[in-house]
Protein backbone atom coordinates (compact mmCIF):
# COMPACT_ATOMS: atom_id res chain seq x y z
CA UNK A 1 0.00 0.00 0.00
CA UNK A 2 2.74 2.39 0.96
CA UNK A 3 4.78 1.49 -2.07
CA UNK A 4 1.77 2.14 -4.32
CA UNK A 5 1.29 5.59 -2.88
CA UNK A 6 4.95 6.39 -3.24
CA UNK A 7 4.85 5.16 -6.81
CA UNK A 8 1.87 7.35 -7.59
CA UNK A 9 3.70 10.33 -6.14
CA UNK A 10 6.81 9.56 -8.19
CA UNK A 11 4.72 9.19 -11.32
CA UNK A 12 3.04 12.52 -10.75
CA UNK A 13 6.39 14.14 -10.00
CA UNK A 14 8.00 12.84 -13.14
CA UNK A 15 5.00 13.90 -15.18
CA UNK A 16 5.32 17.35 -13.71
CA UNK A 17 8.99 17.40 -14.60
CA UNK A 18 8.08 16.25 -18.04
CA UNK A 19 5.71 19.11 -18.58
CA UNK A 20 8.27 21.57 -17.31
CA UNK A 21 10.98 20.20 -19.53
CA UNK A 22 8.69 19.96 -22.52
CA UNK A 23 10.24 22.92 -24.25
CA UNK A 24 13.47 22.22 -26.12
CA UNK A 25 16.55 22.69 -24.07
CA UNK A 26 18.86 25.27 -25.52
CA UNK A 27 21.56 22.71 -26.02
CA UNK A 28 19.46 20.28 -28.05
CA UNK A 29 18.76 19.99 -31.77
CA UNK A 30 15.84 17.67 -32.59
CA UNK A 31 15.81 16.05 -36.02
CA UNK A 32 12.88 13.91 -37.18
CA UNK A 33 11.75 12.35 -40.44
CA UNK A 34 12.72 9.75 -42.97
CA UNK A 35 14.06 6.49 -41.60
CA UNK A 36 16.31 6.26 -44.66
CA UNK A 37 18.23 9.35 -43.62
CA UNK A 38 18.00 8.71 -39.86
CA UNK A 39 21.11 6.48 -39.53
CA UNK A 40 23.11 8.96 -41.58
CA UNK A 41 22.01 11.96 -39.51
CA UNK A 42 22.58 10.07 -36.27
CA UNK A 43 26.23 9.53 -37.20
CA UNK A 44 26.67 13.09 -38.46
CA UNK A 45 25.06 14.32 -35.26
CA UNK A 46 27.47 12.29 -33.16
CA UNK A 47 30.47 13.81 -34.91
CA UNK A 48 29.00 17.29 -34.51
CA UNK A 49 28.49 16.65 -30.79
CA UNK A 50 32.15 15.77 -30.40
CA UNK A 51 33.14 19.09 -31.96
CA UNK A 52 30.67 21.05 -29.83
CA UNK A 53 30.59 19.58 -26.32
CA UNK A 54 27.42 20.38 -24.43
CA UNK A 55 25.33 20.31 -27.58
CA UNK A 56 23.05 17.36 -28.25
CA UNK A 57 21.61 16.18 -31.52
CA UNK A 58 18.57 13.92 -31.10
CA UNK A 59 17.54 12.05 -34.24
CA UNK A 60 14.15 10.35 -34.44
CA UNK A 61 12.53 8.53 -37.33
CA UNK A 62 8.85 8.44 -38.30
CA UNK A 63 8.83 9.07 -42.05
CA UNK A 64 9.40 11.94 -44.45
CA UNK A 65 5.89 13.31 -43.97
CA UNK A 66 6.41 13.45 -40.22
CA UNK A 67 9.62 15.36 -40.82
CA UNK A 68 7.68 18.05 -42.66
CA UNK A 69 4.78 18.27 -40.21
CA UNK A 70 6.99 18.24 -37.12
CA UNK A 71 9.10 21.13 -38.40
CA UNK A 72 6.00 23.10 -39.31
CA UNK A 73 4.48 22.48 -35.86
CA UNK A 74 7.67 23.36 -34.06
CA UNK A 75 8.04 19.87 -32.60
CA UNK A 76 11.45 19.46 -34.18
CA UNK A 77 14.17 21.74 -35.47
CA UNK A 78 15.14 19.90 -38.64
CA UNK A 79 13.14 17.54 -40.83
CA UNK A 80 14.58 14.70 -42.90
CA UNK A 81 12.84 14.23 -46.24
CA UNK A 82 14.01 11.51 -48.61
CA UNK A 83 12.49 12.97 -51.75
CA UNK A 84 12.25 16.15 -53.76
CA UNK A 85 10.13 18.82 -52.12
CA UNK A 86 6.60 19.21 -53.40
CA UNK A 87 4.93 22.47 -54.36
CA UNK A 88 2.96 22.88 -51.15
CA UNK A 89 6.12 22.56 -49.11
CA UNK A 90 7.58 25.83 -50.31
CA UNK A 91 7.15 27.35 -46.85
CA UNK A 92 10.16 25.36 -45.70
CA UNK A 93 13.78 25.71 -46.68
CA UNK A 94 15.34 22.55 -48.11
CA UNK A 95 19.03 21.61 -48.14
CA UNK A 96 20.19 18.61 -50.13
CA UNK A 97 22.80 16.62 -48.22
CA UNK A 98 23.09 13.51 -50.37
CA UNK A 99 21.76 11.66 -53.37
CA UNK A 100 20.53 8.09 -53.56
CA UNK A 101 20.21 6.09 -56.76
CA UNK A 102 17.66 3.38 -57.44
CA UNK A 103 18.75 0.10 -59.02
CA UNK A 104 16.76 -2.81 -60.33
CA UNK A 105 17.97 -6.03 -58.77
CA UNK A 106 17.67 -9.69 -59.70
CA UNK A 107 18.68 -12.83 -57.92
CA UNK A 108 22.31 -13.68 -58.58
CA UNK A 109 21.41 -17.03 -60.13
CA UNK A 110 19.25 -15.35 -62.74
CA UNK A 111 21.29 -15.61 -65.99
CA UNK A 112 19.96 -12.33 -67.43
CA UNK A 113 22.31 -9.34 -67.35
CA UNK A 114 20.13 -6.64 -68.82
CA UNK A 115 16.52 -5.86 -69.55
CA UNK A 116 15.12 -3.32 -71.94
CA UNK A 117 12.70 -0.64 -70.84
CA UNK A 118 9.85 -2.44 -72.62
CA UNK A 119 10.68 -5.69 -70.89
CA UNK A 120 10.74 -4.12 -67.45
CA UNK A 121 7.42 -2.40 -68.07
CA UNK A 122 6.00 -5.69 -69.34
CA UNK A 123 7.16 -7.51 -66.23
CA UNK A 124 5.85 -4.90 -63.82
CA UNK A 125 2.47 -4.54 -65.51
CA UNK A 126 1.91 -8.28 -65.48
CA UNK A 127 2.04 -8.81 -69.23
CA UNK A 128 5.18 -10.89 -68.92
CA UNK A 129 4.86 -13.60 -66.29
CA UNK A 130 7.65 -16.04 -67.07
CA UNK A 131 11.36 -15.44 -67.33
CA UNK A 132 11.53 -17.43 -70.59
CA UNK A 133 9.54 -14.68 -72.32
CA UNK A 134 12.46 -12.26 -71.83
CA UNK A 135 15.20 -14.70 -72.62
CA UNK A 136 15.91 -16.20 -69.25
CA UNK A 137 15.55 -19.59 -67.61
CA UNK A 138 11.90 -20.69 -67.44
CA UNK A 139 10.37 -19.82 -64.12
CA UNK A 140 7.63 -17.68 -62.67
CA UNK A 141 8.52 -14.05 -62.19
CA UNK A 142 7.97 -12.69 -58.69
CA UNK A 143 7.51 -8.95 -58.94
CA UNK A 144 8.59 -6.98 -55.87
CA UNK A 145 7.21 -3.47 -55.60
CA UNK A 146 7.54 -0.70 -53.04
CA UNK A 147 4.68 0.49 -50.85
CA UNK A 148 2.59 3.42 -51.95
CA UNK A 149 3.71 6.85 -50.89
CA UNK A 150 7.41 6.05 -50.90
CA UNK A 151 9.51 8.34 -53.03
CA UNK A 152 11.34 5.36 -54.51
CA UNK A 153 8.07 4.07 -55.94
CA UNK A 154 7.11 7.48 -57.30
CA UNK A 155 10.47 7.89 -58.98
CA UNK A 156 10.18 4.42 -60.49
CA UNK A 157 6.68 5.14 -61.78
CA UNK A 158 7.70 8.48 -63.21
CA UNK A 159 10.74 7.04 -64.97
CA UNK A 160 8.81 4.19 -66.59
CA UNK A 161 5.73 6.38 -67.16
CA UNK A 162 3.40 4.10 -65.25
CA UNK A 163 0.50 4.82 -62.94
CA UNK A 164 0.22 3.39 -59.48
CA UNK A 165 -2.65 1.13 -60.55
CA UNK A 166 -0.75 -0.28 -63.54
CA UNK A 167 1.62 -2.37 -61.49
CA UNK A 168 0.81 -6.01 -60.84
CA UNK A 169 3.05 -7.13 -58.01
CA UNK A 170 3.45 -10.28 -55.96
CA UNK A 171 5.19 -8.83 -52.96
CA UNK A 172 5.12 -5.30 -51.60
CA UNK A 173 7.97 -4.20 -49.38
CA UNK A 174 8.61 -1.26 -47.13
CA UNK A 175 12.32 -0.79 -46.54
CA UNK A 176 15.32 -1.42 -48.74
CA UNK A 177 16.56 -4.30 -46.65
CA UNK A 178 13.24 -6.06 -46.91
CA UNK A 179 13.55 -5.76 -50.67
CA UNK A 180 17.05 -7.20 -50.65
CA UNK A 181 16.06 -10.07 -48.40
CA UNK A 182 12.97 -10.86 -50.46
CA UNK A 183 14.83 -10.91 -53.78
CA UNK A 184 17.77 -12.86 -52.39
CA UNK A 185 15.39 -15.53 -51.10
CA UNK A 186 13.64 -16.12 -54.42
CA UNK A 187 15.55 -16.98 -57.63
CA UNK A 188 12.67 -15.71 -59.76
CA UNK A 189 12.31 -12.32 -58.12
CA UNK A 190 12.86 -8.84 -59.48
CA UNK A 191 12.75 -5.65 -57.42
CA UNK A 192 14.24 -2.18 -57.03
CA UNK A 193 16.15 -0.73 -54.10
CA UNK A 194 18.70 1.91 -53.25
CA UNK A 195 21.86 1.52 -55.37
CA UNK A 196 24.28 1.88 -52.51
CA UNK A 197 22.57 -0.78 -50.45
CA UNK A 198 22.38 -3.17 -53.38
CA UNK A 199 26.01 -2.59 -54.29
CA UNK A 200 27.14 -3.29 -50.76
CA UNK A 201 25.03 -6.42 -50.41
CA UNK A 202 26.17 -7.80 -53.75
CA UNK A 203 29.82 -7.34 -52.80
CA UNK A 204 29.18 -8.79 -49.34
CA UNK A 205 27.97 -12.05 -50.85
CA UNK A 206 24.20 -11.68 -50.71
CA UNK A 207 22.81 -13.41 -53.82
CA UNK A 208 21.59 -10.30 -55.65
CA UNK A 209 22.89 -8.49 -58.69
CA UNK A 210 22.20 -5.07 -60.12
CA UNK A 211 20.78 -4.37 -63.55
CA UNK A 212 21.88 -1.40 -65.58
CA UNK A 213 19.47 1.18 -66.94
CA UNK A 214 19.71 2.42 -70.55
CA UNK A 215 23.12 0.90 -70.86
CA UNK A 216 24.50 2.61 -67.77
CA UNK A 217 25.65 0.14 -65.13
CA UNK A 218 24.11 0.72 -61.72
CA UNK A 219 26.73 1.92 -59.28
CA UNK A 220 27.19 4.65 -56.71
CA UNK A 221 29.99 6.05 -58.84
CA UNK A 222 27.65 6.50 -61.78
CA UNK A 223 25.17 8.33 -59.59
CA UNK A 224 28.01 10.57 -58.50
CA UNK A 225 29.10 11.44 -62.02
CA UNK A 226 25.51 11.93 -63.06
CA UNK A 227 25.34 9.32 -65.80
CA UNK A 228 22.88 7.08 -63.99
CA UNK A 229 19.36 8.27 -64.77
CA UNK A 230 17.39 7.27 -61.68
CA UNK A 231 18.24 9.02 -58.43
CA UNK A 232 16.54 10.99 -55.66
CA UNK A 233 17.71 13.77 -53.34
CA UNK A 234 17.96 13.41 -49.58
CA UNK A 235 16.91 16.70 -48.01
CA UNK A 236 17.03 18.46 -44.67
CA UNK A 237 14.28 21.03 -44.12
CA UNK A 238 13.90 23.83 -41.62
CA UNK A 239 11.65 26.79 -41.10
CA UNK A 240 12.92 29.93 -42.84
CA UNK A 241 14.15 31.62 -39.65
CA UNK A 242 16.30 28.65 -38.66
CA UNK A 243 18.82 30.34 -36.50
CA UNK A 244 22.59 30.39 -36.45
CA UNK A 245 22.97 27.12 -34.52
CA UNK A 246 20.90 25.16 -37.03
CA UNK A 247 22.65 26.76 -39.96
CA UNK A 248 26.01 25.76 -38.55
CA UNK A 249 24.84 22.17 -38.14
CA UNK A 250 23.34 21.95 -41.60
CA UNK A 251 26.45 23.51 -43.07
CA UNK A 252 28.46 20.84 -41.31
CA UNK A 253 26.19 18.11 -42.67
CA UNK A 254 26.71 19.34 -46.22
CA UNK A 255 30.45 19.85 -45.94
CA UNK A 256 33.26 17.61 -47.07
CA UNK A 257 34.03 16.83 -43.41
CA UNK A 258 31.28 14.22 -43.36
CA UNK A 259 31.86 12.76 -46.83
CA UNK A 260 33.19 9.58 -45.27
CA UNK A 261 30.03 9.13 -43.18
CA UNK A 262 27.82 9.65 -46.21
CA UNK A 263 29.85 7.18 -48.24
CA UNK A 264 29.74 4.74 -45.33
CA UNK A 265 25.96 4.77 -45.57
CA UNK A 266 26.23 4.14 -49.32
CA UNK A 267 24.91 7.50 -50.46
CA UNK A 268 26.52 10.12 -52.66
CA UNK A 269 27.47 13.33 -50.81
CA UNK A 270 26.05 16.63 -52.01
CA UNK A 271 27.81 19.88 -51.33
CA UNK A 272 26.28 23.38 -51.60
Amino acid sequence: MFSRRALGFLLALSMGLGIAAGAHADDRIVVTGSSTIAPLMAEIGKRFEKLHPGLRVDVQSGGSTRGVTDVRAGLSDIGMVSRAMSDDERDLVAYEIARDGIAIILHRDNPLTELSRRQIVGIYTGRVTDWSEVGGKPGRITVVNKAEGRSTLELFLAYFRLGVRDIVAHVVIGDNQQGIKTVSANPGAIGYVSIGTAEFEASAGTPVKLLGLEGVPASVANVKNGTYPLSRPLNLVTRPAGGERLERFIGFARSAEVDDIVADQFFVPSHP
Binding site: M1, S35, G62, G63, S64, T65, R66, T69, R140, T142, A147, E148, G149, R150, G163, V164, R165, A169, H170, V171, V172, I173, G174, Q178, K181, T182, A185, N186, G188, A189
Partner: protein
Protein backbone atom coordinates in the same frame (compact mmCIF):
# COMPACT_ATOMS: atom_id res chain seq x y z
CA UNK B 1 -26.14 -2.69 -5.78
CA UNK B 2 -25.79 0.70 -4.18
CA UNK B 3 -22.39 2.24 -3.98
CA UNK B 4 -22.73 2.96 -0.25
CA UNK B 5 -23.28 -0.69 0.57
CA UNK B 6 -20.33 -1.69 -1.60
CA UNK B 7 -17.95 0.67 0.17
CA UNK B 8 -18.84 0.84 3.89
CA UNK B 9 -17.01 3.43 5.97
CA UNK B 10 -14.49 0.96 7.29
CA UNK B 11 -10.81 0.56 6.48
CA UNK B 12 -11.76 -2.23 4.10
CA UNK B 13 -14.31 0.02 2.47
CA UNK B 14 -11.77 2.80 1.96
CA UNK B 15 -9.26 0.40 0.44
CA UNK B 16 -11.93 -1.08 -1.78
CA UNK B 17 -12.86 2.38 -2.98
CA UNK B 18 -9.24 3.11 -3.82
CA UNK B 19 -8.89 -0.15 -5.69
CA UNK B 20 -12.12 0.52 -7.51
CA UNK B 21 -10.89 3.93 -8.60
CA UNK B 22 -7.72 2.35 -9.92
CA UNK B 23 -9.74 -0.28 -11.75
CA UNK B 24 -11.49 2.43 -13.70
CA UNK B 25 -8.10 3.13 -15.22
CA UNK B 26 -8.25 0.10 -17.50
CA UNK B 27 -11.45 1.17 -19.21
CA UNK B 28 -10.28 4.75 -18.95
CA UNK B 29 -7.20 4.02 -21.04
CA UNK B 30 -9.29 2.22 -23.63
CA UNK B 31 -11.65 5.18 -23.80
CA UNK B 32 -8.73 7.56 -24.29
CA UNK B 33 -7.31 5.44 -27.09
CA UNK B 34 -10.68 5.14 -28.79
CA UNK B 35 -11.21 8.88 -28.56
CA UNK B 36 -7.76 9.45 -30.05
CA UNK B 37 -8.20 6.99 -32.93
CA UNK B 38 -11.70 8.19 -33.67
CA UNK B 39 -10.57 11.78 -33.64
CA UNK B 40 -7.84 11.06 -36.14
CA UNK B 41 -10.15 8.96 -38.30
CA UNK B 42 -13.02 11.44 -38.33
CA UNK B 43 -11.91 13.50 -41.39
CA UNK B 44 -11.91 10.38 -43.53
CA UNK B 45 -15.20 9.11 -42.15
CA UNK B 46 -16.77 12.47 -42.87
CA UNK B 47 -15.50 13.01 -46.43
CA UNK B 48 -15.27 9.45 -47.67
CA UNK B 49 -18.05 7.82 -45.70
CA UNK B 50 -18.13 4.48 -43.93
CA UNK B 51 -19.83 2.64 -46.78
CA UNK B 52 -17.09 3.31 -49.28
CA UNK B 53 -14.53 1.71 -47.01
CA UNK B 54 -16.38 -1.54 -47.42
CA UNK B 55 -17.64 -1.24 -50.97
CA UNK B 56 -14.60 0.12 -52.83
CA UNK B 57 -12.90 -2.69 -54.65
CA UNK B 58 -9.28 -1.65 -54.35
CA UNK B 59 -6.93 0.21 -52.01
CA UNK B 60 -5.16 3.04 -53.80
CA UNK B 61 -5.47 5.83 -51.25
CA UNK B 62 -3.51 8.31 -53.33
CA UNK B 63 -5.87 7.54 -56.18
CA UNK B 64 -9.15 7.81 -54.29
CA UNK B 65 -9.87 4.11 -53.72
CA UNK B 66 -10.39 3.08 -50.11
CA UNK B 67 -11.55 -0.52 -50.09
CA UNK B 68 -10.71 -2.08 -46.72
CA UNK B 69 -12.58 -5.34 -47.26
CA UNK B 70 -9.66 -7.44 -48.63
CA UNK B 71 -7.44 -6.36 -45.75
CA UNK B 72 -10.14 -7.02 -43.15
CA UNK B 73 -10.53 -10.49 -44.58
CA UNK B 74 -6.77 -11.00 -44.53
CA UNK B 75 -6.42 -9.90 -40.90
CA UNK B 76 -9.24 -12.20 -39.93
CA UNK B 77 -7.83 -15.14 -41.90
CA UNK B 78 -4.38 -14.67 -40.39
CA UNK B 79 -5.67 -14.52 -36.83
CA UNK B 80 -8.13 -17.37 -37.30
CA UNK B 81 -5.51 -19.60 -38.91
CA UNK B 82 -2.98 -18.79 -36.21
CA UNK B 83 -5.52 -19.57 -33.47
CA UNK B 84 -6.55 -22.87 -35.08
CA UNK B 85 -2.91 -23.89 -34.90
CA UNK B 86 -1.90 -22.28 -31.64
CA UNK B 87 -4.85 -23.07 -29.38
CA UNK B 88 -4.59 -26.89 -29.45
CA UNK B 89 -0.80 -26.86 -29.46
CA UNK B 90 -0.66 -24.39 -26.58
CA UNK B 91 -3.10 -26.31 -24.42
CA UNK B 92 -1.36 -29.56 -25.28
CA UNK B 93 1.99 -28.03 -24.33
CA UNK B 94 0.58 -26.88 -20.99
CA UNK B 95 -0.85 -30.32 -20.29
CA UNK B 96 2.40 -31.88 -21.37
CA UNK B 97 4.52 -29.78 -19.05
CA UNK B 98 2.24 -30.27 -16.06
CA UNK B 99 1.39 -33.95 -16.32
CA UNK B 100 3.54 -35.79 -18.83
CA UNK B 101 6.98 -34.25 -18.87
CA UNK B 102 9.75 -35.95 -16.95
CA UNK B 103 10.98 -33.89 -14.02
CA UNK B 104 14.24 -32.82 -15.67
CA UNK B 105 12.34 -31.44 -18.68
CA UNK B 106 9.80 -29.31 -16.83
CA UNK B 107 11.90 -26.24 -16.12
CA UNK B 108 13.76 -26.08 -19.46
CA UNK B 109 10.48 -26.48 -21.32
CA UNK B 110 8.82 -23.63 -19.47
CA UNK B 111 11.95 -21.60 -19.95
CA UNK B 112 11.83 -22.15 -23.69
CA UNK B 113 8.17 -21.18 -23.89
CA UNK B 114 8.76 -18.05 -21.83
CA UNK B 115 11.73 -17.24 -24.06
CA UNK B 116 9.52 -17.53 -27.11
CA UNK B 117 7.04 -15.23 -25.39
CA UNK B 118 9.68 -12.55 -25.11
CA UNK B 119 11.22 -12.94 -28.54
CA UNK B 120 10.74 -9.68 -30.40
CA UNK B 121 8.39 -9.83 -33.33
CA UNK B 122 11.21 -8.54 -35.51
CA UNK B 123 13.36 -11.58 -34.66
CA UNK B 124 10.52 -13.97 -35.45
CA UNK B 125 9.80 -11.98 -38.59
CA UNK B 126 13.46 -12.18 -39.61
CA UNK B 127 13.46 -15.91 -39.10
CA UNK B 128 10.30 -16.12 -41.18
CA UNK B 129 11.80 -13.92 -43.90
CA UNK B 130 15.16 -15.65 -44.10
CA UNK B 131 14.27 -19.26 -43.32
CA UNK B 132 10.56 -19.96 -43.78
CA UNK B 133 9.70 -17.80 -46.80
CA UNK B 134 12.48 -19.23 -49.02
CA UNK B 135 11.29 -22.74 -48.11
CA UNK B 136 7.71 -21.89 -49.03
CA UNK B 137 8.90 -20.08 -52.16
CA UNK B 138 10.41 -23.34 -53.35
CA UNK B 139 7.00 -24.96 -53.05
CA UNK B 140 5.04 -22.08 -54.50
CA UNK B 141 6.36 -18.57 -55.20
CA UNK B 142 6.35 -15.89 -53.93
CA UNK B 143 6.72 -17.52 -50.55
CA UNK B 144 5.64 -14.46 -48.63
CA UNK B 145 2.05 -15.49 -48.17
CA UNK B 146 -0.90 -16.18 -45.92
CA UNK B 147 0.47 -19.53 -44.78
CA UNK B 148 3.82 -18.00 -43.84
CA UNK B 149 2.02 -15.40 -41.75
CA UNK B 150 -0.20 -18.01 -40.11
CA UNK B 151 2.71 -20.24 -39.18
CA UNK B 152 4.86 -17.54 -37.62
CA UNK B 153 1.90 -15.83 -35.93
CA UNK B 154 0.92 -19.18 -34.44
CA UNK B 155 4.45 -19.61 -33.13
CA UNK B 156 4.26 -16.14 -31.67
CA UNK B 157 0.97 -16.57 -29.78
CA UNK B 158 1.42 -20.16 -28.61
CA UNK B 159 3.27 -19.04 -25.43
CA UNK B 160 0.32 -16.86 -24.42
CA UNK B 161 -2.04 -19.81 -24.73
CA UNK B 162 0.37 -22.24 -23.09
CA UNK B 163 1.20 -20.11 -20.09
CA UNK B 164 -2.34 -18.98 -19.33
CA UNK B 165 -3.63 -22.52 -19.86
CA UNK B 166 -0.96 -23.79 -17.51
CA UNK B 167 -1.90 -21.26 -14.84
CA UNK B 168 -5.55 -22.21 -15.27
CA UNK B 169 -4.86 -25.93 -15.07
CA UNK B 170 -2.64 -25.53 -12.04
CA UNK B 171 -5.36 -23.62 -10.23
CA UNK B 172 -7.83 -26.50 -10.52
CA UNK B 173 -8.21 -27.69 -6.94
CA UNK B 174 -6.69 -31.01 -6.06
CA UNK B 175 -10.11 -32.19 -4.95
CA UNK B 176 -11.18 -32.38 -8.60
CA UNK B 177 -8.34 -34.73 -9.42
CA UNK B 178 -8.95 -36.74 -6.29
CA UNK B 179 -12.63 -37.09 -7.10
CA UNK B 180 -11.87 -38.16 -10.66
CA UNK B 181 -9.38 -40.75 -9.52
CA UNK B 182 -11.81 -42.00 -6.90
CA UNK B 183 -14.30 -42.58 -9.68
CA UNK B 184 -11.74 -44.71 -11.47
CA UNK B 185 -10.79 -42.26 -14.22
CA UNK B 186 -7.30 -42.52 -15.64
CA UNK B 187 -5.14 -39.50 -16.34
CA UNK B 188 -6.40 -38.81 -19.84
CA UNK B 189 -10.02 -39.38 -18.98
CA UNK B 190 -9.73 -37.13 -15.93
CA UNK B 191 -8.12 -34.44 -18.05
CA UNK B 192 -10.71 -34.60 -20.77
CA UNK B 193 -13.80 -34.88 -18.62
CA UNK B 194 -12.97 -33.12 -15.36
CA UNK B 195 -9.88 -30.93 -15.28
CA UNK B 196 -10.06 -29.22 -18.67
CA UNK B 197 -13.71 -28.29 -18.25
CA UNK B 198 -12.90 -26.93 -14.80
CA UNK B 199 -10.11 -24.80 -16.24
CA UNK B 200 -12.20 -23.84 -19.23
CA UNK B 201 -12.57 -20.18 -18.41
CA UNK B 202 -8.89 -19.55 -17.89
CA UNK B 203 -7.96 -21.42 -21.03
CA UNK B 204 -10.57 -19.62 -23.07
CA UNK B 205 -9.37 -16.30 -21.69
CA UNK B 206 -5.85 -17.13 -22.77
CA UNK B 207 -6.99 -18.10 -26.25
CA UNK B 208 -8.90 -14.85 -26.55
CA UNK B 209 -5.86 -12.83 -25.50
CA UNK B 210 -3.77 -14.74 -28.02
CA UNK B 211 -6.30 -14.10 -30.77
CA UNK B 212 -6.36 -10.41 -29.95
CA UNK B 213 -2.57 -10.36 -30.06
CA UNK B 214 -2.58 -12.07 -33.45
CA UNK B 215 -5.05 -9.51 -34.81
CA UNK B 216 -2.92 -6.65 -33.53
CA UNK B 217 0.48 -7.95 -34.59
CA UNK B 218 2.25 -5.61 -36.96
CA UNK B 219 5.91 -6.45 -37.49
CA UNK B 220 5.69 -10.14 -38.33
CA UNK B 221 2.89 -9.78 -40.84
CA UNK B 222 4.63 -6.81 -42.41
CA UNK B 223 7.73 -8.83 -43.10
CA UNK B 224 6.35 -12.11 -44.35
CA UNK B 225 2.85 -11.92 -45.77
CA UNK B 226 3.65 -10.24 -49.07
CA UNK B 227 1.58 -7.10 -48.49
CA UNK B 228 -0.53 -7.34 -51.64
CA UNK B 229 -4.03 -5.94 -51.21
CA UNK B 230 -6.16 -8.78 -52.39
CA UNK B 231 -8.87 -11.03 -51.03
CA UNK B 232 -7.14 -14.11 -49.64
CA UNK B 233 -7.81 -16.71 -52.31
CA UNK B 234 -5.52 -19.48 -51.22
CA UNK B 235 -3.02 -20.34 -48.53
CA UNK B 236 -0.07 -19.44 -50.73
CA UNK B 237 -1.44 -16.10 -51.89
CA UNK B 238 0.21 -12.91 -50.66
CA UNK B 239 -2.10 -10.82 -48.49
CA UNK B 240 -1.96 -7.54 -46.59
CA UNK B 241 -3.26 -7.28 -43.06
CA UNK B 242 -4.73 -4.06 -41.70
CA UNK B 243 -1.85 -3.70 -39.26
CA UNK B 244 0.89 -3.96 -41.87
CA UNK B 245 -1.05 -1.51 -44.01
CA UNK B 246 -0.92 1.04 -41.22
CA UNK B 247 2.76 0.41 -40.66
CA UNK B 248 3.64 0.58 -44.36
CA UNK B 249 1.79 3.74 -45.21
CA UNK B 250 1.57 5.78 -41.99
CA UNK B 251 5.05 7.21 -42.37
CA UNK B 252 4.26 8.72 -45.73
CA UNK B 253 0.56 9.53 -45.51
CA UNK B 254 -1.03 12.93 -45.26
CA UNK B 255 -4.55 14.27 -44.83
CA UNK B 256 -7.29 11.90 -45.90
CA UNK B 257 -4.90 9.05 -46.55
CA UNK B 258 -3.63 9.24 -42.96
CA UNK B 259 -7.15 9.52 -41.61
CA UNK B 260 -8.22 6.47 -43.61
CA UNK B 261 -5.39 4.52 -41.99
CA UNK B 262 -6.86 5.37 -38.62
CA UNK B 263 -10.22 4.18 -39.92
CA UNK B 264 -8.61 0.82 -40.57
CA UNK B 265 -7.31 0.89 -36.98
CA UNK B 266 -10.87 1.49 -35.84
CA UNK B 267 -12.08 -1.40 -38.00
CA UNK B 268 -9.55 -3.66 -36.31
CA UNK B 269 -10.66 -2.60 -32.86
CA UNK B 270 -14.25 -3.29 -33.86
CA UNK B 271 -13.24 -6.76 -35.02
CA UNK B 272 -11.63 -7.52 -31.66
CA UNK B 273 -14.67 -6.14 -29.84
CA UNK B 274 -17.01 -8.39 -31.84
CA UNK B 275 -14.74 -11.37 -31.21
CA UNK B 276 -14.62 -10.92 -27.44
CA UNK B 277 -18.31 -10.11 -27.27
CA UNK B 278 -19.13 -13.29 -29.18
CA UNK B 279 -16.84 -15.32 -26.94
CA UNK B 280 -18.42 -13.82 -23.86
CA UNK B 281 -21.99 -14.53 -24.96
CA UNK B 282 -20.98 -17.99 -26.08
CA UNK B 283 -19.59 -18.77 -22.67
CA UNK B 284 -22.60 -17.43 -20.85
CA UNK B 285 -24.92 -19.46 -23.02
CA UNK B 286 -23.07 -22.65 -22.17
CA UNK B 287 -24.05 -22.35 -18.53
CA UNK B 288 -27.76 -21.98 -19.28
Amino acid sequence: MRISSLFPRTRDGHIAFGLGAVSCLASGILLLILVFVFGEAWPALRTIGVLRFLSDTAWYPTDNAFGLAPMLAASFALAAGALILAAPVGVAAAIFRLYYAPAWLKTPYRGLVLLLAGTPSVVLGLWGLMVLVPLIARLEPPGASLIAGILVLALMIVPTVAITAEAALESVPRSCWAAANALGLGREAALLNVVLPAAREGVAGGILLAGARALGETMVVLMITGNIVRMPDGLFAPVRALTSNIALEMAYATGDHRASLFVSGLALTLLVFLLSFAARTGRRMRYV
